[in-house]
């Protein structure tokens, strides 16, 4: 493209990155703010004080740990159930495959609020008190869809002749699967797990309907917006971002060569 095109391209890309990173930069910046009053939303002055005790806010830390545990459990369930589904959908021909794929895509093709309403009415209908169990069931459900679809896509781009070759060399099917297929699927499993984890960890809509008395991190943050925004919120969020960036960097060698 000519020079004007290049300039426009650069400008739009810069704007896009600006829009993406504006709130992130503000978040990190405000972790170094010394706020006056209860709301750390207006810049006052630089301090390192907030970073000295990142976990000073006990309620925040508890919500953080709750979300961490929930996301881990939901991810484990989702990758396990979703992996089995992906394997069956990708490796076998049977009647009803299309319908199952459609069912799997439902959480993607509907806003979360639809799922939240359906789940709440289910739990009220079967008289299941809202709490850790309903929260785990709900989270594992939407993670399941994303995990299954991610793994299905990875399996579709997978050379199944490798597995056949292993069998030709005398490996029983189960051994061929464990020794050949599973190791090759590790990057896909990691991707699915990371996706599930970040979806569950950051979920507000479904949680606000199904959590009952449990306070996850997003629920705590929404409440804090009404009560008090302590700088520890920004400190913790910056730490989470740092860890995410590290994980992303670690995962990226696996992504190379697979569009």
């Amino acid at each position: 493209m000519n020079r004007i095109g290049s300039v426009l391209l650069g400008l739009a890309s810069a704007l896009a990155f600006g829009l993406l990173y504006a709130p992130v930069v503000v978040m990190v910046l405000f972790s170094f703010n010394a706020p006056r009053g209860r709301f750390n939303l207006v810049w006052q002055g630089f301090t390192l004080e907030n970073w000295r005790q990142p976990l000073r806010d006990a309620a925040l830390s508890e919500a953080f740990l709750t979300s961490l545990g929930l996301a881990l459990a939901a991810t484990l369930l989702a990758v396990l159930l979703g992996g089995l589904m992906a394997l069956a959908l990708e490796r076998a021909r049977f009647r009803g495959r299309r319908s199952i794929e459609l069912l799997l895509a439902l959480p993607l093709t509907n806003p979360e609020i639809v799922l939240a309403t359906a789940l709440l009415n289910l739990f009220v209908g079967v008289d299941l008190p809202r709490g850790p169990l309903t929260l785990l069931l709900s989270h594992s459900l939407f993670c399941l869809s994303y995990a299954a679809l991610t793994l299905k896509a990875r399996l579709a781009g997978f050379d199944s002749t490798l597995e056949l070759a292993a069998q030709d060399l005398g490996a029983p099917p189960l051994q061929a699967f464990c020794r050949v297929t599973l190791p090759l699927l590790v990057p896909g499993l990691l991707a699915a797990a990371l996706l599930s984890f970040s979806l569950s960890f950051d979920d507000y809509v479904v949680s606000s309907f199904t959590a009952g008395e449990i306070v996850t991190l997003p629920l705590y943050l929404a409440g804090a917006f009404q009560r008090e925004i302590s700088p520890q919120i920004q400190v913790l969020s910056s730490l989470v971002l740092l860890v995410s960036a590290a994980l992303l960097a670690l995962a990226s060698p696996f992504r190379q060569g697979r569009p």
Binding site: M1, G5, L8, L9, A12, S13, A16, L20, Y21, P23, V24, M27, F30, L41, L81, G82, L84, L87, A88, L89, A92, R93, L104, A105, L106, T109, N110, E112, I113, T117, A118, N121, L122, S138, L141, L144, D159, L162, E163, A165, L169, P173, L184, V186, Y204, F209, L217, L221, A222, F225, V240, L241, S244, A245, L248, S252, Q256, G257, R258, P259
Partner: protein, 339 residues
């Protein structure tokens, strides 16, 4: 690194260390075409009954989850939407075939529904204006920085969207940098007249909500577009150049049509969550910017009007489904380049 079994010569993409270039992609895709021909593996070598049974054994747990927690509860919303609350203070209801729920809901919340879809459409359109050039730049100008740039697009969405919304309130607040810049440029009056600002403020306006939504959906627009553009065979671009097509014509006749599936996928992945968003209107909008999810939440959790909430949810779902079908136009969901 997983060990490669002896006696096989094929090298799957996951084992490569080469950077993602048009050449390796083209080679990979022609291999993929061959692979697809011999793809469907016939399952473990077992008897016929076992062969038919094993996929269902693998599917069973996930299916129980999906049907029990989503499929059936979704269907159960239909009778619920035609019911009446038993009392004013509980979620218990009784079925009475009350179709009027739908009329009342549409009458009372029609404008909010339209507003939600409007915000989602504007945010997606704004996002596309930025996402398409960015995806184009990443694919065609990114070179060896491509993986890093893709990582940078993904990274912000790994931080909590609530914290990002809260950060926007600092940026857009009365003492924030954005309004300071606007007034320094003398734009307060004109932008107020255009309806971008309200009484010189940005918080609690549609602008703030749409900015928040656009920030959230940008990665979901960029990634499918990059994937779709990566699938464009570089030989097509070379052929177009050989036939004396200028860069502009090359874009219009080759890149744009071939990136359309990515566009469709991106629009779906952005529009749907944006239309049902709860957080941005809550934190960045005022009472006049509430969206449909806020209304449904209010009906269910505050007003205890489960039948009306169900009716509204089903209306939203129907509208979204129509939008999805229009976007897909006969294409299968699996044909879309989802990241």
């Amino acid at each position: 690194m997983p060990k490669r079994p002896a006696g096989t010569s094929a090298s799957p993409a996951s084992l490569r260390a080469e950077p993602l270039t048009a050449e390796t992609l083209a080679a990979e895709s022609s291999k993929a075409a061959l692979r697809r021909q011999r793809q469907r593996w016939q399952g473990p070598r077992r008897s016929g009954v076992q062969r038919r049974l094993w996929p269902w054994l693998l599917l069973a747990p996930g299916l129980i989850w999906l049907l029990g927690l989503y499929g059936l509860p979704l269907l159960a919303l239909v009778p619920l939407s035609l019911s009446e609350p038993l009392s004013r203070f509980g979620l218990e209801t009784v079925f009475s075939g009350r179709v009027a729920n739908y009329l009342e809901v549409l009458q009372a919340y029609g404008p909010i529904l339209a507003r939600s879809l409007g915000y989602a459409v504007v945010a997606t359109a704004l996002g596309l204006l930025l996402a398409y050039p960015l995806a184009f730049a990443i694919r065609f100008r990114g070179g060896r920085w491509q993986p890093l740039l893709i990582g940078l697009v993904v990274l912000p969405s790994l931080s909590s969207y609530l914290v990002r919304a809260i950060a926007w309130t600092s940026l857009l607040g009365d003492q924030g940098p954005v309004l300071a810049l606007v007034s320094a440029l003398g734009l307060t009056g004109p932008l107020d007249a255009l309806g971008v600002l309200r009484d010189g403020r940005l918080l609690n306006t549609a602008t703030a909500v749409i900015l928040g939504l656009t920030n959230n959906l940008l990665p979901f627009l960029v990634l499918p577009l990059v994937v779709a553009m990566e699938r464009i065979d570089h030989r097509l671009l070379e052929a177009a150049a050989d036939l004396h097509a200028g860069p502009w014509r090359c874009f219009v006749q080759v890149v744009w049509p071939l990136s359309r599936p990515g566009l469709a996928a991106g629009i779906l992945l952005s529009l749907i969550p944006a239309a049902g968003d709860l957080v941005n209107p809550l934190i960045l909008g005022g009472p006049n910017e509430r969206m449909i999810a806020n209304t449904i939440e209010n009906l269910l959790l505050v007003q205890m009007q489960a039948p009306r909430a169900a009716a509204l949810t089903l209306v939203l779902m129907a509208l979204i489904t129509v939008a999805v079908l229009l976007q897909l136009r006969g294409r299968g969901l699996e044909e879309l380049p989802l990241p």
